[in-house]
């Protein structure tokens, strides 16, 4: 296969995974909420509510795209693209099976953490360029929250890198196959919990939805967006949820492999296994979203700086001592 066709195939795989993942996550979210709160819309209307995401997309596409006169027009229009750009970048290193991975960079994890920081910038410029007080406050809150939770996210992964001795995503999964146990059980349980909490905060989902907080900031940094640009923020949020769960499943839960299944057949069952793990994690996030109230801003910062960061540093301490001494 020539290099050009290879790229096309890879782009196709990424698009299929990203967009379908987003649709499945959306459906799961609205279905669970409808189930828990008795909302008839996503539960009964139109094929038992399964065409709900399609109706949503069609609704947003035919809405007027309003760009207020006072906004910084270029940056305002660019912000959704920025977020979509960073979200697609995350798919590059996630291995769906040992061979089905876009690029297995030897800097895998590092690249991942670097790219995920870019969406902070997208949120911040969306908030700033709107020239709206709600948006500005939402954007600043988002920036404060995203940088605070970026650190536990990064430091939690360090423990895994110490154990696996590699930063390549495929390498990390191979190490877990070699050990026969996923890292979440083999020594990185605390790191896994920290990672999931920080990832929820990075996605800005309830209980970490301070930047959007519709009861106090209207729609946070998205207040001035309407129509298709709003839809792109919305889709990017769900793609982000899907890919973050896939990353957590790969790093901590053994990715495309489960113990006891034969390793030679991993190319066949790999995608199914990864998808199952990913959606399982996503379902936990959905349950959390519809069960918990929102944190206060000071509580949010305290959890990150006073609990999660010292805890993840402690995790690095213990893991590295265990690694060298034993």
């Amino acid at each position: 296969m020539s290099f050009g066709t290879e790229i096309l195939v890879k782009v196709g795989v990424v698009l299929a995974f990203a967009l379908n993942g987003a649709v499945i996550c959306t459906l799961m979210d609205v279905k669970a909420s409808a189930w828990m709160q008795r909302r008839p819309g996503p539960l009964h209307v139109g094929l038992r509510g399964f065409i709900f995401p399609l109706a949503e997309v069609i609704k947003f596409i035919q809405k007027e795209d309003i760009v207020p006169t006072k906004v910084d027009k270029t940056i305002f229009k660019l912000a959704p693209a920025f977020i979509l750009f960073s979200v697609f970048g995350l798919f590059v290193v996630v291995p769906i099976s040992p061979t089905l991975v876009v690029v297995d960079l030897n800097l895998g994890v590092f690249y991942l953490l670097a790219i995920s920081t870019l969406s902070t910038l997208g949120v911040l410029i969306a908030g700033w360029s709107s020239a709206n007080k709600y948006s500005l406050m939402g954007g600043l809150r988002a920036a404060g929250q995203l940088i605070a939770y970026e650190l536990p996210l990064i430091l939690a992964v360090v423990g895994v890198v110490i154990q696996a001795e590699t930063m390549s995503m495929v390498g990390i999964v191979e190490k877990q196959i070699e050990w026969g146990l996923p890292f979440a059980i083999a020594g990185q349980g605390i790191a896994f919990v920290i990672f999931m909490i920080a990832a929820t905060a990075e996605m800005m989902r309830i209980p970490f939805d301070m930047p959007i907080g519709e009861s106090e900031l209207v729609m946070g940094f998205m207040t001035e967006y309407s129509g298709i640009r709003f839809l792109i923020f919305y889709i990017a949020e769900y793609i982000n949820m899907f890919v973050m769960c896939a990353i957590a499943a790969t790093i901590f839960l053994g990715g495309y492999h489960v113990p006891l299944l034969p390793v030679e057949w991993v190319n066949f069952y790999g995608p199914v296994v990864l998808l199952t793990k990913t959606l399982g994690l996503a379902f936990i996030l959905v349950l959390v979203r519809w069960s918990f109230p929102r944190f206060r801003e000071d509580q949010l910062q305290n959890i990150a700086w006073k609990i999660l960061i010292p805890l993840s540093l402690l995790n690095i301490f213990v893991t590295s001592i265990m690694k060298v001494v034993f």
Binding site: I61, P68, K70, V71, A81, V103, L136, V158, G227, I228
Partner: protein, 121 residues
């Protein structure tokens, strides 16, 4: 070396798919949607009343302090990763050096907490 460049060209292509998708979807919507702006519609949203002053208002300085703290710990993370991979080879020497480094930063964080820099009132 060729495979190295090919890897990063692929990364670049996949990244640009995000932007291409954005362009595609917005231009599709531009064909389908109505476009009927009025002066009232284009004013800044402020819960229905006329907006007061500019949207770029002053905000609290504390976000700046959080930004500074973030930079310190982020740079730390950059140093930690190469060490984490080679920990086995570096042995006790690398371990003790890095523990001292992390410990100093931890003291910095505790100092910031004690000085009420992270307090939110």
């Amino acid at each position: 070396m060729i495979s190295y460049f090919q890897d990063y060209i692929t990364v670049g292509v996949v990244l640009s798919v995000g932007i291409a998708l954005m362009v595609l979807v917005t231009s599709l919507a531009a064909v389908l949607r109505p476009n009927n702006p009025t002066r009232e519609k284009l004013t800044t949203y402020e819960s229905g009343v006329d907006p007061v002053g500019t949207g770029w208002s002053q905000t609290y300085i504390r976000y700046y302090v959080f930004g500074l703290l973030f930079v310190i710990f982020d740079v730390e993370a950059v140093f930690i990763f190469p060490w984490a991979i080679n920990l086995e080879k570096l042995g006790y020497f690398g371990l003790i050096e890095m523990l001292i480094f992390i410990f100093i930063l931890l003291i910095g964080l505790i100092y910031a907490i004690r000085k009420d820099v992270l307090k939110w009132e």
